[in-house]
C-alpha cells in the first residue's frame, strides 16, 4: 500500500459496523493527513457513507478505535466531533428551513453582545464566508427555504467552513450544485488544503476526483482496498478496483431474445401482446425528469441504472400516479392513460405495482400485523361489500407466505419483528396478491441479506416468465447486469444510454453512469438547474424578502386598520380617546393570551391551558390585588408568579414527562381551572381601583394598555427573539431533527417557551381583572380565550406548524377578533351575527394557508 509520508491527522483502526444483518464496514484501517485532498471512492454500498458517519460522530462503530493526532477519541454526537475540528457536509442538508442564511451559518456559535445574538456581526460573518465560497449573491437575511437547492447546498458548505475546521468531510456535496459552483468549490477546497486543512471528498464523479484529489482510497463491499496518490493511477485503472469480483452471485438465466416474450406468455390471466406493455414518451416533471422515453415489453426485465438521484425514483413514482404536473405521455397496452393516484394505478386493467424505496416508512405499517400488511393493497378484492372475509384473507396470506417463503412464526405478530429481508418479502407479497402486470421496483434489495436477495432474483425471473413486465431500479451494478435483459442509464433526468447483450457489462455500465467520455460542459450545464446571479441589494429584492417574512402580520394589521377605520367613522364623536382605550383594553387581554400561545406554537406545540391560566390569574388578582400600594404591588407580583409556575408545570409535563402537548395542557388546564374556582367560587372580588385607573385609561391620548403591549414587544419579546433561547425555539419548530443534529439545546428552549407562556397568560389575566374590577371563574370564558388565542395566532400569520412568525401578528389578530363585535354593533348588524362572522374569519384565515398545499407537485410529500 502506498501511503503519504506525513503523520496522519486522523487514523482509524479495525473499524467494523453492522446494520442489522448487513456488514457495512469490515475491519477497516484508514488514515488521512492535514493539508491533503483525500478522495474516497467506491460503488453504492461500499461503505463510504458509513465510514464518514463514524468520523463525523453521527454513529458509533461496533468495533475499532479512532485516533485524532495520536490520541484515542470517541464521539457521542456530531457536535462533539465539531468541537474537535471535524465538520461534515452531508448530502441531506442540516439547515433550518425557516431561519435566515446568517442564522443558519452561525447556528452553533453565534456572535453575542450583552448576552443577545449580535445580528449585525452575524450578518457580516455570513457575508464574509459567503464571499469566500464565491456566493456573494446570497443575501444573509434570506430564508433558507426560499433559496433554490443549489444555493442551499452552498450555505451548508459555508456553515461548515465558518467554524475553521481542521478536517472537512464532503459527502456528495456537489450533487445539487451548478457547474459554476463546482468550479468555485474546487477553488475553496484547494484553498483549504493550502491552509493545512484535511479534506475528505466522497464522490461518484470521477472527473471531479481526477481534477482535485491528491490521494485516493478505494472501498469495496465494506473493505478498504487500497490508497494511492492520484498521480500514480488513471481512471481506467481505478474503476476496475471499485468493481472487483467477489463470490459471484448466481443469477437466474436470462431471456435470450426479446421477441419471444409474446409467445412465452402462458398464464391465463394475460392476453398475448403485440405491442409493448408499457410505453413512455417524452416524460417531463419539475426539472427532475427531462424527457424520458422508454418501452417495456411483457416478460422483460428492464433495469434503470446510473448514479443515485438522477431521476430513477421519480420515474417510478410518476408511473404510479404520485407526481402531479407530468408532461409527456404514458401508454399501457397501447392506450394513453393519465394516472392520478396509486389507487388508479393498481386497478386490474392497468395493473401497476410499486415496491417503494424505503420499506419502513413507505412500504409497511410497522406496528400492524404481518397479515394486515399483506392484504392492504388487495383488501377490496378479498372483501365483499366492504366486509372483511377472514377465510379468504387467510388463504391469500398463506399463499403469499408460502410462495415467498416468508419466515414468520405468527402472522398476527407485528411486521416490525421481522428481519429486513422478510419485511421486504411482505411488501412484495402484498403486491403479488394484486396480480400486477407491471412491477416497478425501487432499489428492492437495499440493506437485505444475500440469501434473501437470491430468492428475490429467482422470483423476479419467474414473474417475468409469466408475462409481467418489470422495471428495476437498483444501485447495485452487479444486480443490474445479472438480472436485466437490458439496462437504460439515467443521467440528469434523461436516458443517455441503453446496454444489452454483450454490451451489458460492468465497465460500460459504470462508464455510462459516470457519464465519462462526454465533455463535462455540454451535459453538465444542461443537467444542472440554470441560475443567473442577480445584483445583491436591489430594492425590489429587499421588499420581496421583507414581504415573504412579514406577509402575515402585515395583512392582519391591514385588516385591523380597515376595521378600525370603519368603526371610527361611525362614531358620532369621532376618534375619541375613550373609544381607542376601550378597543385597546379588550384587545390587550386577548393579546397577552395570544402572545403566550405564539411562543408555544413557535416550538411546534399547542397550549390548551392558556385560557385557564388567565382565568386563574384574574381570580387570584380579584382576591389579593387590593389593600395598600405595597400590598397591591406584592399581589401583582404574586399573580404573575402563579402564571409562571403554571407554565413551568406545563413545561415539566411536556419536556420531562414527554406527554403530547395537546393532551398534557388539556389536563393541566383542568387543574388550573379548579384552582380558579377554589379562589373565586362565585364572581366578585375586589381590585385596587388606583391601579386599575392607572392602567386602563390613557397617557397623553394613547391608551395605557397599548403602551403596555409596545413595552412588552420592546423589552420582553425583542430580547427573547434575539437570544439563543429564542432562536432555538424557532429552530425547534422549523425542524426538530436538524436542530438536534446541530447540537442545539432544544429541551431547554421548549421548557422556556411553555414557562414564559404561563407568565404572559397570567399578565392577560391581571389585565382582565383590572379592566373588569372583579374576577370570575367561568369555564366558558377560559375556553373562549384559549380558542381565540389560537385563532389570533392563525390570523396573524404565524405558521401553526412552528418555526416562523412572531407576536406582532398575533396581537394584530387579537385586535381583529375583538373589534369584530364592536364593528357589527356600530353598523347595526344584529349582535347575533358576531359569532358566525368570527368563525368565518378564522376558517378563512386557516384555509388560505391550506390552499398552498393544493399546489404541491409530489403528492407523497403531503403525507407524513
Amino acid at each position: 500500500m502506498s501511503e503519504p509520508a506525513r503523520r496522519p491527522f486522523l487514523r482509524l483502526q479495525g473499524i467494523t459496523k453492522h446494520y442489522g444483518g448487513v456488514t457495512a464496514l469490515a475491519n477497516v484501517d484508514f488514515s488521512c493527513s492535514l493539508g491533503t485532498i483525500h478522495a474516497v471512492v467506491g460503488e453504492n454500498g461500499a461503505g463510504k457513507s458509513s465510514l464518514m458517519k463514524i468520523i463525523a460522530g453521527v454513529v458509533r462503530p461496533d468495533e475499532g478505535q479512532i485516533y485524532l493526532e495520536g490520541h484515542p477519541v470517541q464521539f457521542t454526537s456530531p457536535a462533539e466531533a465539531a468541537l474537535l475540528g471535524i465538520t461534515c457536509i452531508f448530502q441531506e442538508l442540516s439547515l433550518l428551513p425557516d431561519l435566515s442564511v446568517s442564522d443558519n451559518i452561525s447556528i452553533a456559535d453565534p456572535p453575542k453582545r450583552f448576552g443577545l445574538i449580535d445580528r449585525r456581526r452575524q450578518r457580516r460573518t455570513a457575508e464574509e464566508v459567503l464571499r469566500q465560497v464565491g456566493c456573494p449573491d446570497i443575501h444573509p437575511d434570506e430564508r433558507v427555504k426560499d433559496l433554490p437547492l443549489s444555493r442551499q447546498q452552498m450555505v451548508e458548505i459555508a456553515k461548515a467552513l465558518v467554524r475553521n475546521p481542521r478536517l472537512v468531510i464532503m459527502d456528495e456535496a456537489t450533487s445539487a450544485l451548478t457547474a459554476r459552483d463546482v468550479e468555485q468549490l474546487y477553488r475553496i477546497i484547494r484553498g483549504l488544503r493550502d491552509r493545512g486543512v484535511a479534506v475528505l471528498y466522497i464522490s461518484h464523479r470521477m472527473p471531479e476526483i481526477s481534477a482535485i484529489a491528491d490521494i485516493c482510497s478505494v472501498f469495496r463491499n465494506g473493505k478498504h482496498i487500497d490508497t494511492f496518490s492520484m498521480a500514480s493511477r488513471t481512471t481506467e485503472e481505478i474503476v476496475p478496483m471499485m468493481i472487483g469480483r467477489e463470490l459471484a452471485r448466481a443469477y437466474p438465466a436470462k431471456v435470450s431474445t426479446r421477441g419471444d416474450s409474446a409467445a412465452r406468455i402462458n398464464s391465463a390471466d394475460h392476453k398475448p401482446q403485440t405491442g409493448p406493455l408499457l410505453e413512455i414518451k417524452d416524460l417531463f416533471w419539475s426539472n427532475v425528469l427531462r424527457g424520458i422515453s422508454l418501452r417495456l415489453a411483457a416478460g422483460e426485465i428492464v433495469g434503470l441504472g446510473g448514479l443515485d438521484g438522477q431521476g430513477q425514483s421519480e420515474l417510478l413514482l410518476a408511473l404510479f400516479g404520485v407526481l402531479r404536473g407530468l408532461g409527456g405521455e404514458v401508454f399501457i397496452d397501447g392506450r394513453r392513460l393519465a394516472i392520478k393516484h396509486p389507487r388508479q394505478a393498481k386497478a386490474p386493467k392497468i395493473g401497476l405495482a410499486l415496491i417503494p424505496q424505503d420499506r419502513q416508512t413507505q412500504g409497511l405499517l410497522l406496528p400492524m400485523s404481518i397479515e394486515d400488511n399483506l392484504v392492504l393493497a388487495s383488501a377490496s378484492d378479498l372483501s365483499k361489500y366492504g366486509l372483511i372475509d377472514r377465510a379468504k384473507e387467510r388463504s391469500a396470506t398463506n399463499q403469499a407466505v408460502a410462495k415467498l417463503q416468508i419466515l414468520a412464526n405468527d402472522l398476527a405478530a407485528p411486521v416490525r419483528t421481522l428481519s429486513g429481508g422478510n419485511q421486504q418479502k411482505v411488501v412484495i407479497g402484498k403486491w403479488l396478491l394484486k396480480n400486477p402486470r407491471i412491477l416497478l421496483l425501487n432499489d428492492p434489495t437495499r440493506g437485505i441479506d444475500v440469501g434473501t436477495k437470491q430468492e428475490l432474483y429467482q422470483l423476479m425471473r419467474e414473474l417475468a416468465q409469466t408475462g409481467l413486465g418489470i422495471l428495476f431500479y437498483s444501485t447495485d451494478y452487479e444486480e443490474l447486469i445479472g438480472m436485466c435483459d437490458r439496462v437504460v442509464v439515467c443521467y440528469g433526468g434523461k436516458l443517455i444510454r441503453e446496454l444489452s447483450g454483450p454490451d451489458l457489462n460492468e465497465h460500460n455500465l459504470i462508464t455510462a453512469s459516470l457519464n465519462l467520455g462526454e465533455s463535462r460542459g455540454a451535459v453538465e450545464s444542461e443537467s444542472r438547474s440554470i441560475e443567473t446571479s442577480s445584483p445583491k441589494a436591489s430594492a425590489w429584492q429587499n421588499l420581496n424578502r421583507f414581504w415573504k417574512r412579514n406577509a402575515g402580520p402585515a395583512l392582519s394589521f391591514l385588516v385591523f386598520a380597515i376595521m378600525f377605520i370603519l368603526f371610527a367613522s361611525q362614531q358620532s364623536n369621532g376618534l375619541s380617546t375613550n373609544v381607542l382605550t376601550s378597543v385597546s383594553n379588550k384587545g390587550a387581554v386577548l393579546g397577552y393570551v395570544a402572545i403566550a400561545q405564539t411562543l408555544v406554537i413557535l416550538t411546534g406545540g399547542f397550549d390548551l391551558s392558556v385560557g385557564m391560566v388567565m382565568t386563574m390569574a384574574s381570580c387570584l388578582a380579584s382576591v389579593i390585588l387590593n389593600g395598600s400600594a405595597g400590598q397591591t404591588t406584592l399581589g401583582a407580583l404574586a399573580v404573575l408568579a402563579s402564571g409562571l409556575l403554571a407554565g413551568i408545570i406545563n413545561a415539566v409535563t411536556v419536556v420531562l414527562g414527554r406527554i403530547q402537548p395537546i393532551i398534557a395542557t388539556l389536563a393541566t388546564g383542568a387543574i388550573y381551572f379548579g384552582i380558579a374556582l377554589w379562589l373565586r367560587p362565585s364572581p366578585g372580588g375586589n381590585v385596587n381601583e388606583d391601579l386599575s385607573n392607572a392602567l386602563t385609561y390613557d397617557v397623553g391620548g394613547v391608551p395605557t394598555t397599548f403602551l403596555l403591549l409596545l413595552a412588552t414587544i420592546a423589552f420582553i419579546w425583542w430580547p427573547f427573539r434575539n437570544s439563543i433561547l429564542g432562536r432555538n425555539c424557532y429552530a425547534l419548530g422549523s425542524s426538530e431533527r436538524a436542530a438536534y443534529m446541530s447540537g442545539l439545546a432544544i429541551g431547554r428552549a421548549r421548557f422556556a417557551a411553555y414557562s414564559l407562556a404561563g407568565l404572559l397568560a397570567a399578565t392577560g389575566g391581571l389585565l382582565l381583572s383590572l379592566v373588569s374590577l372583579s374576577g370570575e371563574a367561568s369555564a366558558g370564558q377560559g375556553g373562549f380565550y384559549t380558542l381565540n388565542s389560537i385563532a389570533a395566532v392563525a390570523i396573524g400569520g404565524t405558521s401553526l406548524f412552528g418555526g416562523s412568525g412572531g407576536i406582532i401578528g398575533s396581537i394584530c389578530g387579537a385586535l381583529v377578533l375583538r373589534t369584530i363585535s364592536d364593528l357589527l354593533f356600530v353598523f347595526n348588524a344584529p349582535a347575533l351575527w358576531q359569532p358566525l362572522f368570527q368563525g368565518f374569519i378564522l376558517l378563512g384565515a386557516v384555509c388560505l394557508g391550506g390552499l398552498r398545499v393544493l399546489r404541491r407537485k409530489n403528492q407523497m410529500d403531503v403525507f407524513q
Binding site: 396509486p342 400492524m368 414527554r658 388539556l666 388546564g669 379548579g674 367560587p681 358576531q834 358566525l836
Partner: protein, 316 residues
C-alpha cells in the same frame, strides 16, 4: 399471559383497575355507591358520553382531533327538535335531520382536513365557531320549538325491563362502531392511515375518503348524543355540548388510544368513559366542590398519561 399485557391492553387494564379503586373508595364512603340502582344510573349517564366519545375515537385513531363536537351536539339537537314539531311529519324527521346535520358537519371537517390539509385542531375549531354562530343566529330573536319529542324521551329516559334505554342505544352504537373497526375494510384502512398515511397511500388506499368517513362518523355520533341529551333534559339549549368535549377526549385517551393515531381498542374507550363518569360521580358523592373536582380530574388524567402516554426519545 403475555398476550393480555400487550402495549395496547395495558391502559385498559390500568383504567379498569382505577375503576375498581374508585368503586371501593365510593363504597367505603357510602355503601349505596355500589348498589345496582346507583350503578345503573351511572351507566345511564355514561351512555350519553359514550355515544359521543365513540365516534370521536375514530378521528383520534387517525391522529386527528375533532373540536367541533360541542356545537355539533347542540346543532343536531336543535335541528332535530325544530323539525319534530312540524305537524305533517309526526316527529319522524327528528333523527334523519339531526343526524344528517351531524354528517354534514363531519363531511366539511373531513374535506378541510383531508384536501386542504389544514390541521384538524384548527379547522374543527373554526367549524365549532361557525356552528355556534349559525345556532345563535337561528335561535336569536324567536325561541323556536326545542322541546323533546316523545320518542326522544323514550330513548333517553325510559327503561325497559329496568334497564335504561339510553344504555341500549349506547350498546347499539358500540356494536356498529366495533363492527366498523373490526369487520370492515374501512376499519382496517382507518388504522393503516393512522399508523402511516404515506404507506397506506402508496398501497392504493383511498386515504382522503377514510379521513372524511371518520369525521362524518364523529359528527353523526355527536348529533345523536345531542338528540339523546335533549330527551334527557326535555329541552335543547345553547351550550349543551360544551361540557362534553374534554371528558370525551379524556375518555378516549385514558382508554389507551394513542393521540398520534394508529392504535387503540374500542373497549378502551368504553372503559375510559366509565372511568370518567365514575370519577365525576365519586367526587360529587364526596361532596367535593367543583374546584376540587376539576383539580382531581386533571390530576388523574395527568398521572395516567405519565404512566403510559409518553413519547419515545428523539434519539431512538
Amino acid at each position: 399471559m403475555n398476550r393480555i399485557f400487550t402495549k395496547t391492553n395495558q391502559p385498559i387494564l390500568a383504567a379498569s383497575a382505577c375503576i375498581l379503586v374508585i368503586l371501593a373508595i365510593g363504597a367505603m364512603i357510602n355503601p349505596n355507591f355500589v348498589s345496582p340502582n346507583y350503578l345503573l344510573l351511572q351507566l345511564e349517564v355514561a351512555s350519553f358520553l359514550g355515544i359521543i366519545a365513540g365516534g370521536s375515537m375514530l378521528v383520534i385513531l387517525l391522529g386527528h382531533i375533532d373540536l367541533s363536537i360541542p356545537w355539533t351536539i347542540t346543532m343536531g339537537a336543535m335541528m332535530g327538535t325544530a323539525v319534530a314539531h312540524v305537524e305533517e311529519t309526526a316527529g319522524l324527521l327528528t333523527f334523519p335531520v339531526g343526524l344528517g346535520c351531524g354528517a354534514l358537519v363531519g363531511l366539511i371537517n373531513g374535506l378541510g382536513v383531508a384536501w386542504l390539509r389544514v390541521p384538524s385542531m384548527i379547522f374543527t375549531l373554526g367549524m365549532n365557531a361557525v356552528l355556534q354562530g349559525l345556532v345563535v343566529l337561528y335561535t336569536g330573536g324567536a325561541a323556536p320549538a326545542s322541546h323533546a319529542t316523545r320518542l326522544m324521551s323514550i330513548l333517553a329516559v325510559d327503561r325497559t325491563f329496568g334497564i335504561p334505554n339510553a344504555l341500549f342505544v349506547w350498546i347499539a352504537v358500540s356494536g356498529v362502531l366495533v363492527f366498523l373497526l373490526r369487520a370492515t375494510q374501512f376499519g382496517r384502512y382507518l388504522y393503516a392511515v393512522g399508523n402511516r398515511e404515506r404507506a397506506a397511500y402508496l398501497s392504493g388506499v383511498p386515504t382522503r375518503w377514510v379521513i372524511v368517513g371518520a369525521f362524518v362518523t364523529s359528527g353523526i355520533t355527536a348529533a345523536l348524543g345531542g338528540i339523546m341529551l335533549t330527551g334527557y333534559s326535555t329541552k335543547a339549549y345553547q351550550g349543551m355540548g360544551d361540557a362534553y368535549l374534554l371528558p370525551a377526549i379524556a375518555a378516549i385517551v385514558l382508554g389507551g388510544t394513542n393521540v398520534l393515531g394508529g392504535s387503540g381498542r374500542y373497549t378502551g374507550t368504553v372503559i375510559g368513559v366509565l372511568l370518567i363518569v365514575l370519577l365525576q360521580s365519586m367526587l360529587s358523592v364526596l361532596q367535593m366542590p367543583e374546584a376540587g373536582r376539576q383539580i382531581i380530574y386533571g390530576g388523574v388524567l395527568l398521572s395516567m398519561l405519565l404512566i403510559y402516554g409518553r413519547a419515545a426519545r428523539l434519539r431512538e
